[in-house]
């Protein structure tokens, strides 16, 4: 049975427990979820953002699109009225962790999945719009617990205004900072070279990398060995990342998506940066810029 959450017209939030509460001698669930809307009210034709936030107890983790060695990709299903458009769910940049001798890609403490909703241009002021999300996730520590929840918000429609009311702007700005940057039409290719895949892509000239801490997370599982170290080199405006092929059942798609994560600067900065690689084309033989 899924838990239900709702929001009243004023935008108050409701916290919902996970579908399967679990206690290990204590009555503590390992995670809670909440659905948030950045806007207090919505207007016809003006896009707004929703966030599904999963907060985990210390030591627990959940997984990214590619969970790594093991794990389970969270599933989110957004529901809006028929005339509304739901954008692509934005996944925050993942991190690597070691658990039970396995390398996982995912999140600890908190993760917020964002989605942009675009209403039709004509909405009647005073109407109430129902949006909801169903989510399933896997949490692991020394055990794994598969859970799920569903949440619903009722969003009031207000007349068109010049400046929308965004009571949760600061929170959403923080969420957006954890999303990988997206640059349009950046040329990227990947190719096999010996036991390695090499990903090569152009980068903005002002990008600074702390090279030992560059890591490429492919969206597709079973493509690289998650344990293996990745090495990166920069030449001018091109970065090359070398990744060890996985050892069994290794195959690569013709096109590759993923996230490149790096620590900016030369060791003096703690700033983590990430950018999406929306499409890298598979190339036969070494690609030359």
């Amino acid at each position: 049975m899924a838990a239900k959450g709702s929001i009243d017209a004023g935008g108050a939030l409701d916290y919902a427990p996970p579908q399967h509460s679990w206690s290990n001698g204590q009555d503590n669930s390992p995670a809670t979820t909440r659905l948030m809307c950045e806007a207090g009210t919505i207007q016809g034709g003006r896009s707004f953002w929703l966030a599904l936030v999963l907060k985990m107890q210390p030591d627990w983790h959940c997984y990214w699109l590619n969970p790594g060695h093991t794990g389970f990709t969270p599933r989110l299903k957004w529901s809006v009225p028929e005339s509304f458009h739901v954008g692509e769910t934005a996944w925050p940049q993942p991190r690597r962790f070691m658990a039970s001798g396995q390398i996982g890609f995912g999140y600890e403490h908190e993760v917020a999945w964002l989605v942009e909703i675009t209403p039709p241009s004509l909405l009647s002021a005073g109407a109430q719009i129902r949006v909801s999300v169903g989510v399933e996730w896997l949490l692991c520590r020394d055990v794994c617990l598969r859970s799920g929840a569903s949440h619903e918000l009722i969003l009031p429609v207000s007349p068109p205004v010049a400046e929308p009311c965004l009571p949760y702007r600061d929170i959403f700005e923080r969420f957006r900072l954890s999303l990988p940057q997206s640059r349009d039409e950046v040329e990227a290719v990947f190719y096999a070279e010996g036991e390695f895949w090499v990903l090569r892509l152009h980068i903005p000239a002002d990008t600074t990398f702390n090279l030992p801490e560059v890591y490429f997370y492919p969206c597709q599982a079973g493509w690289i060995d998650p344990v293996a170290y990745q090495s990166a080199t920069v030449q001018g405006t091109t970065i090359e990342v070398q990744m060890l092929l996985c050892d069994t059942d290794c195959s690569a798609p013709d096109e590759l998506k993923g996230v490149l994560v790096w620590r900016e600067g030369n060791g003096g900065s703690d700033s983590i940066a990430a950018r999406r690689v929306d499409t890298a084309r598979k190339s036969i033989g070494k690609w030359r810029s």
């Binding site: 399967h20 679990w22 206690s23 290990n24 969970p67 060695h69 093991t70 794990g71 389970f72 658990a99 039970s100 001798g101 396995q102 996982g104 896997l138 692991c140 020394d142 055990v143 794994c144 617990l145 598969r146």
Partner: protein, 410 residues
């Protein structure tokens, strides 16, 4: 005690030529010590990390050199009677040194079904401590020089020497492979020492050793191959299972101890512990035991589950396979097929709250022996299992006694 029951072995037989299997299993340099011959010297490390040689036991009037091992059910059973006897005979001048002759790499996995310990030096330390050895326990597995010099054939195998360190008795401790002292009819070693203490000829100076054959170094390659490949041909299949069938498994109307493990391919701790569980299943493949896996993967992921099981050679031992027909079952690997876990939780009892891995040990009749959330400690689990199954042959299993005349010990 009727002398008619005694083996007619007044002298130690020449072992070369006693049979093709035996001869082919003996290593170069092996020679069974003959009556009246002097005790060979040795230099071996004990579980106290001290080195011992024959001269270290010179203060004792009589000396018992006994070959024992950690893994052998015959040794386990004999020790239940031998250890109290040794204590009682120390005041009569008996000195004792135990030598473990096996190399652990020469033991097949399925020969470890009666012990949580194999025969490594480190495990000898644990075994000696847990069993209260009051005498040096020495490791000979690296070279087996002592085992070859004495001609040890099995564990246990005893060599009793007089004051001049001449061999006066060799062979078994007594004629029972069970732990129950009521099953003993011939007290061979005890009688031999009684004769020595009474300063009279030993009436029966040799009784055929009965136990687990010494695991010779020369077999390591063959054993290693067997440990790698013996499981390759066992059938692997997956069947759907629902809560009602899980409840039936938990009722355990079989005669087997059941280890049930809930796991999934997406569960890191499950994947990490699975090889240990399959290895445990291999160790216990000749016992009344079965390992049952229940995958919590999505039912449409059955091919993925099967691939995982195949990669880990998680097949069904023949003994388990033979027992399934009467249970309307075809496999020991299952994939949970229902959408709700509530009925599954009810079937498994209060110990399972939802997370995996979850492992539960169920005795015949449905008694829950042990259960655990999270990765199992297989040493602890082995101890619990062996407490249930016993560390030596149960008497109701009226199997043919296996002696040194056979190459395998279980």
């Amino acid at each position: 005690m009727s002398s008619l029951n005694r083996p007619s072995l007044a002298a130690v037989p020449t072992l070369r030529g006693s049979g093709p299997e035996l001869e082919s299993n003996l290593p170069d340099g092996f020679r069974r010590l003959q009556l009246g011959e002097s005790a060979p010297d040795f230099l071996l490390r004990g579980v106290d990390d001290a080195e011992y040689r024959l001269a270290d036991f010179a203060a004792h009037k009589f000396l018992l050199v006994v070959f024992l091992s950690n893994h052998c059910p015959y040794s386990h059973a004999a020790e239940t009677r031998m250890l109290p006897w040794i204590e009682s005979m120390k005041q009569r001048g008996l000195g004792v040194v135990a030598i473990q002759p096996n190399h652990p790499d020469a033991i097949t996995v399925d020969e470890l079904g009666y012990s949580k310990y194999s025969d490594s030096f480190e495990e000898m330390k644990l075994y000696a401590r847990e069993n209260g050895f009051t005498f040096p326990y020495l490791y000979d597995g690296e070279t087996q020089a002592a085992a070859k010099a004495y001609g040890a054939l099995a564990t246990p195998d005893l060599f009793l020497f007089d004051e001049d360190r001449r061999l006066r008795y060799s062979g078994r401790f007594d004629d029972s492979r069970f732990a129950d002292p009521a099953t003993v009819t011939l007290h061979d070693a005890k009688d031999a020492l009684a004769d020595l203490v009474a300063n009279r000829p030993v009436r029966v100076p040799y009784a055929r050793p009965m136990g687990c054959a010494v695991k010779w170094l020369s077999k390591i390659t063959k054993v290693s191959h067997a440990n790698q490949t013996n499981w390759d041909h066992e059938p692997i299949s997956v069947a759907s299972i629902g809560s009602a069938d899980v409840a039936d498994l938990m009722a355990n109307r079989s005669h087997k101890l059941r280890l049930i493990n809930l796991w999934a391919t997406w569960c890191g701790p499950c994947v990490a512990e699975f090889p240990e569980l399959t290895n445990l299943s291999r160790r216990l493949r000749k016992r009344d035991f079965e390992f049952i896996s229940i995958s919590m993967d999505d039912p449409h992921d059955e091919p993925k589950v099967l691939r995982f099981l195949e990669r880990h050679h998680a097949g069904m031992p023949a003994r388990v396979g033979a027992s399934l027909a009467g249970e309307q079952r075809t496999t020991n690997n299952y994939l949970f097929a229902e959408s709700s876990q509530d009925d599954l939780a009810a079937a498994l009892g209060e110990g399972w709250q939802g997370p995996i891995p979850f492992t539960i040990l169920v005795a015949p009749g449905g008694r829950i022996v042990w259960q655990h959330n999270g990765e199992v400690d297989t040493v602890e689990l082995s101890r619990v299992i062996l407490d249930e199954l016993g560390g030596y042959y149960p008497q109701q299993e009226n199997e043919t006694p296996i002696s040194v005349w056979l190459p395998k010990d279980q």
